[in-house]
Symmetry: C2
Subunit: 222 residues, 2 copies
DNA sequence: ATATGACCAATTATAACAATACGGTCATTT
DNA sequence: AAATGACCGTATTGTTATAATTGGTCATAT
């Protein structure tokens, strides 16, 4: 990160947004938490909304980095169940990412209404295309409808985050156990008969991810 | 149903609650819709809350009847994936049941805050016990943790209902396809090696369901 | 007996207004 | 140049009084 001040502001915002939500965290609060003056904020960001936008981008970037990292280290990371497992693991490490996926009004507040750009872009279509590519690379059984499979993956991703609001926490098993069980289920159902080609799957993932990463870093050289 | 008037009131309430929600549907509205006077309502129910309570009980009963019916007709209905599939099918046939599982404040309104009795009883523990019984009856693989499996079933049940609030409807596949795919996944992952004993599973289900049904009918002889 | 709707207390919605807090700016300081 | 915080117009929130609606009752009618 080039600019330590900018980084401080983002870190302060992350902390406050998660604790009090976007609406209840004032620019003055953020300035105080970051150890600078209110006016100083506006030397680095043109609005409070833009702070949130940058924060979302950063968190998404870091989540993806974690994901790729997990995948490359996992022998089965190139197969569908391995990728999905590691994506879920990367997601649940960030409360902020979870609040995005939930579209949590408590955290994101009025930013949800205003800024639809970042948050509304539909991740499901990306997932569908991805599954098709994985089928071609012999990482997923070919006789399954990518649209339906992607949707079930969307469902599990959503509910792993939201179910805490619907069940007593005492009845929720450890999140790692749940993720492992989901991966097991997907492996049994969707891995090709011959086990699949994990190395090829990793290639598919990197071929999509690396250009996106490069584009992001060029736009945000921090 | 013994009393046609009572039935009319419940039917009128169901219609209005689903359309306008519990809070926005007044007792006068219900009376009008049912074709009787407001005072008449109180000859059959002691409060507006009690109408909702009876309605919930009725809807749950009917959902269970549909479920058992589907299961008995399905050759694989006695296996875990068959039972779950048919339970999901029975659920999505009733908007009311879906609003209960969502704890939809738009529909249930202030009834959610007041009456916790009916809605808060945790269905997850029932599911765990059920899976254990199914394992003993050779309908589910024995090397899986019932707590985790039950939780994943809770997750899928929840998200099949709630995901419409999070995705464009254009990107949601037909609900029947989704349910079939979930069943396929569960069959691959959790059916015993030998295919399992569907008839035994049906016995397990009826052994639990029939006494519960009898108790309900005795309490509500309508 | 059964059913009605005018009536009641209690809750909730509406309106008008005052007070506050907010995001953002900019003259001044460092 | 870089950073500050007093300042500004607006939007939100709090307050109060008043009006309307609601769930539930019960004297009366059928």
């Amino acid at each position: 990160m080039h600019d330590i001040k900018k980084s401080n502001i983002l870190e302060a915002s992350r902390k406050l947004f998660l604790r009090y939500g976007f609406d209840k965290s004032t620019v003055a609060d953020i300035a105080k938490q970051a150890g600078i003056s209110k006016g100083g904020i506006y030397l680095y960001f043109k609005s409070k909304d833009q702070i949130m936008e940058q924060l979302l981008l950063q968190e998404m970037y870091e989540q993806n980095e974690r994901w790729i990292d997990f995948v490359l280290k996992d022998p089965e990371g190139g197969l569908l169940h391995g990728m999905y497992k590691n994506q879920l693991k990367a997601i649940v490490e960030s409360e902020f990412i979870m609040s995005i996926l939930k579209r949590d009004t408590e955290i994101l507040g009025s930013y949800l209404q205003k800024q639809d750009g970042l948050l509304s872009h539909d991740v499901s279509n990306i997932r569908i295309e991805f599954i098709k590519k994985m089928q071609n690379a012999n990482c997923v059984k070919k006789d399954v409808d990518p649209k339906v499979l992607a949707h079930i993956m969307d469902m599990l991703e959503l509910s792993i985050i939201t179910i805490a609001d619907h069940k007593d926490i005492g009845n929720i098993p450890p999140i790692d156990d749940v993720i492992e069980q989901i991966a097991y289920m997907m492996q049994k159902a969707y891995a090709p008969e011959d086990g699949g080609d994990s190395a090829a799957g990793k290639e598919v993932l990197l071929a999509i991810y690396n250009p996106a990463k490069k584009a992001y870093l060029e736009e945000n050289d921090d």
